[in-house]
């Protein structure tokens, strides 16, 4: 991780152009998610079997799906769902990862215990763990969220631990310590500034990954129950209509790609 090319700290002003573009894409999607549910008079599950797979019109701005449900409502709900899940996963896994990472860098015993645990977790592909956990409680978002967080914290842990180890051994931190400052001050003064840029980058990628994982679960039919709108599941359900109603299928595909793309741009460069 390069520490000098700080992408955080100065806020939006210090962002590169592509990061700003990423931010704008995500904000537009967020506005769409809020606006869509607010504007649309239809509910998530309201069907009209006489008006299936309609093209966009003044009644249905984004057309209707295979049940005659409003795509505007469903798309905005689905985007909202992905955003919320991504957000809480990122926050949870970052908190766990950073706490344990700093702790492990400081203490030997914790370090070796965590080392074993992380090695085991790393040897199991994340999606497999998520699949198994999602199978335990189908339809439960709590479990989905726990499963994704459980997989994602490891990356924060590894990065934070590595950087913190360096910082702890730096002369600056050691002199601070000798001057008698507390642990919290040392963390705030020395560790946080060096890990913050990396955490920001990881968080942006993590948001993208959470969204991808959820879409993947929807795609293999695990963990999502009707009538909920989820981008991956919508892709599967609408796929058979690709020649009949390509505009409907394109919507969830475009939304996933835009969200992930936005997060990737926001993350900036990964080195």
């Amino acid at each position: 991780m390069s520490l000098d090319r700080s992408s955080r700290g100065g806020g939006i002003m210090k962002m590169t152009l592509s990061q700003k573009i990423g931010l704008v894409i995500l904000l537009i999607l967020l506005v769409f998610a809020f606006g869509g549910t607010w504007v649309s008079p239809y509910s998530l599950s309201q069907q009209d079997l006489n008006a299936i797979l309609q093209p966009p019109s003044t009644r249905h701005w984004l057309g209707t799906d295979q049940f005659g449900r409003s795509m505007l409502t469903r798309m905005s709900e689905a985007v909202m769902l992905s955003f919320s899940l991504g957000l809480i996963c990122v926050i949870t896994s970052a908190i766990i990862g950073v706490t344990l990472g700093v702790w492990a860098a400081w203490g030997e015993t914790v370090d070796s215990i965590m080392g074993v645990l992380v090695n085991i977790l790393l040897a199991l592909p994340g999606l497999v763990i998520v699949l198994m956990l999602a199978a335990i409680a189908p339809g439960s978002f709590l479990v989905l969220y726990l499963a994704i967080s459980l997989v994602q914290w490891v990356e924060y842990f590894r990065v934070v631990r590595a950087i913190t180890k360096n910082v702890i051994h730096s002369p600056a931190r050691q002199s601070t310590k000798m001057m008698g400052f507390g642990v919290w001050y040392q963390f705030k003064r020395h560790i946080w500034p060096s890990i913050a840029p990396s955490i920001f980058t990881l968080a942006a990628f993590g948001g993208a990954n959470a969204i991808l994982t959820m879409a993947s679960l929807g795609f293999v039919y695990v963990g999502i129950q009707p009538p909920l709108a989820e981008l991956g599941l919508m892709t599967v359900e609408l796929f058979p209509y690709y020649s009949e109603a390509p505009w409907v299928l394109a919507q969830p595909l475009l939304a996933i790609a835009l969200m992930v793309f936005g997060f990737h741009l926001l993350a900036g460069k990964r080195t």
Binding site: L124, F219, V220, T235, F261
Partner: protein, 311 residues
């Protein structure tokens, strides 16, 4: 070198125990009655009823406590016995071997394709002007933003349906491998081409590289002598990092293309609650992962012997 291998060995043992125990605990806590799920997989949806479930329960002694089942399993594992599939009755080791072969084939083909795509593109964007660079990087960012299954679906629509060049799903002939491997290769290449580019840029801009050109070596000779090795180190190290996304990609791709590999088998076994197969598959994945990581370590060491102290 020795410590490296020792470290990996310790990791391997930890992984075997940890993965086994984790899957065991997870699977025991799956909702619903195991006997019923196994009966449904065995006898089919039309023929599953409580009588079938009772038969299964009796045959497999599902009534025994979790702890004693765990003990049995651990003892068997020590003797490298993975047991029989609860659904088919076939030995797990055979089932997993069959699946593993297909998965390995897919992953190596995918990896080879990803290298074949990523290296030229990465070098191209590092050596040509800014226009080419941004165009190529922008394109790879777009691909990276798509979930693996979306790439697969798009390839299917294009190559299998529109042009009808390759089969849609299945296995058995080389033609069947093309689309799944290409999907995997593209998704991997979209990330690794950036690593190739960055690494190449670093090397091309370095003083030793410039010096070699200044002293009169041709472009090609310079690249051969000073470029390849130096560019390769971070790229090969990155392959190790990519293994995770590769294995995850395989689960999706195998499901989409009906490729009978370990990811597909695992997803299925989870659905049917075939605990021995789940454990066997997860174990093999874990072992494979550690093994490949070791391989990557050794490869890095071979390319650049200096780096070993750090790892």
């Amino acid at each position: 070198m020795k410590t490296l291998i020792f470290k990996r060995l310790v990791q391997l043992v930890g992984v075997i125990w940890g993965v086994g125990t984790l899957t065991f605990v997870l699977m025991r806590s799956l909702p619903g009655d195991m006997a019923y799920r196994i009966a449904a997989s065995r006898y089919g949806q039309d023929n599953v009823d409580s009588q079938a479930a009772a038969l299964v329960r009796e045959e497999l002694q599902l009534d025994q406590g979790a702890l004693s089942a765990y003990k049995d399993w651990l003892l068997d594992l020590l003797q490298f016995r993975l047991g029989d599939s609860l659904v088919s009755g076939e030995p797990v080791i055979e089932t997993v071997q069959h699946m593993l072969g297909h998965s390995l084939l897919l992953s190596f083909a995918g990896l080879a394709l990803s290298i074949a795509i990523a290296v030229p593109i990465g070098l191209l964007s590092a050596s040509k002007g800014k226009m080419v660079d941004s165009a190529l990087m922008g394109f790879s960012s777009l691909i990276r933003a798509m979930p693996v299954f979306v790439i697969g679906v798009l390839l299917l629509l294009l190559f299998a349906l529109h042009w009808n060049w390759f089969p849609v799903a299945g296995f058995g002939t080389p033609a069947h491998l093309v689309l799944p491997a290409l999907t995997l290769g593209l998704s991997l290449a979209a990330v690794s081409n950036r690593v190739v580019r960055d690494s190449a840029k670093r090397v091309f801009g370095s003083s030793f590289y410039l010096f070699s050109r200044v002293k009169g070596l041709s472009k090609w000779t310079t690249f051969k002598r000073h470029g390849i090795r130096n560019i390769a180190v971070p790229v090969v190290a990155f392959l190790g990092i990519q293994l995770v996304s590769m294995i995850e990609g395989i689960v999706m791709i195998e499901s989409l293309f009906s490729w009978p590999g370990i990811g597909h088998g695992l997803a299925h076994a989870i659905f049917a609650r075939d605990i021995p197969v789940i454990q066997g598959a997860a174990l093999v994945m874990g072992i494979l992962f550690v093994f490949l990581n070791t391989l990557v370590d050794l490869l890095c060491h071979w390319i650049d012997p200096r780096g070993v102290a750090e790892s």
